[in-house]
Symmetry: C2
Subunit: 157 residues, 2 copies
């Protein structure tokens, strides 16, 4: 597949919440997101990586207005589950490149990550799909990063 | 946005590679994926979650044929970087639900996670985008999970 990166998207209204020491067994993630759904929290990125010793960390982002409601809803369900902690980590910006054929190219990801590295932007989260690679970065780097990615992939205005 | 889950996708040909203790500073991810791109490895899911104490874990999936080439390429670049380790964790299946309006609904994610929990399927990785929620699960659970998700969202044949 030829890769065609057709655009850059930037969302500066997100906050990152980390759920740590979640029991790594069926049902845990369902309970956390049911609590968020019931609290009418709009969730954007959901990222879970490798678990260790029976516990997993799960990170998600919400719009800044929903942070306190989200943390409250998750802490309540975690105490019912008898494990884990939820923390508001900070405000992030989500920078995404969108296009076709992204999935099969480690090279496209490497290009995006190199552009960010050249501008001293640290990557906090990564989430990919067939047509999109998204990274969470410090909110303070948002505009610089979006401009650098836009120029780096030579996208039209 | 109304949520319309329009389909389930299943990929049973993936292997999971975990890169741990990656220096959590600009450039690390770029080096890892440049090495994979140079080795012509096709990467599917890339997931990075929260870092701790200056080190981050990053997980990615490749087609099973590429596992050894991928681990070799990453280990080589990690030794040049002076930190981190790469491990082939095992074979996984990727189950995805696709549709519009997914992003804003913690409820859709909760439904997917609950269906998996009801069938004793443990979630190993999660990655989301605006139109897709993907989970990595044990390869042995692939067909059971895909059928359960298909039925749970009442999708047509
Ligand atoms: C951590 C969480 O994802 C758990 N493995 C579950 O299946 O719900
Ligand atoms: C861990 C890795 O993502 C690092 N933070 C980077 O920016 O490359």
């Amino acid at each position: 597949e030829d890769v065609v990166v057709s655009g850059v998207a930037l969302d500066k209204n997100q906050a990152k919440i980390a759920v740590s020491d979640l029991p790594d067994k069926p049902g845990s993630a369902a309970k956390v997101f049911k609590a968020l759904g019931d609290a009418n929290v709009i969730v954007d990125m959901i990222v879970q990586n490798i678990g260790r010793g029976g516990a997993a960390n799960l990170t998600f982002t919400v719009s800044k207005d929903d942070v306190h409601r989200a943390v409250e809803a998750v802490e309540k369900v975690l105490s019912e589950m008898g494990g884990g902690a939820a923390n508001y980590v900070g405000d992030i910006a989500k920078v995404s490149i969108v296009g076709v054929g992204m999935r099969s190219h480690a090279g496209v990801a490497a290009t995006l990550f190199s552009i960010l590295a050249d501008h001293e932007v640290n990557i906090q989260m990564i989430s990919t799909s067939e047509i999109r690679i998204s990274v969470a970065i410090d909110l303070a780097d948002a505009d610089k990063a979006a401009q650098a990615v836009h120029d780096g992939f030579e996208l039209d205005q």
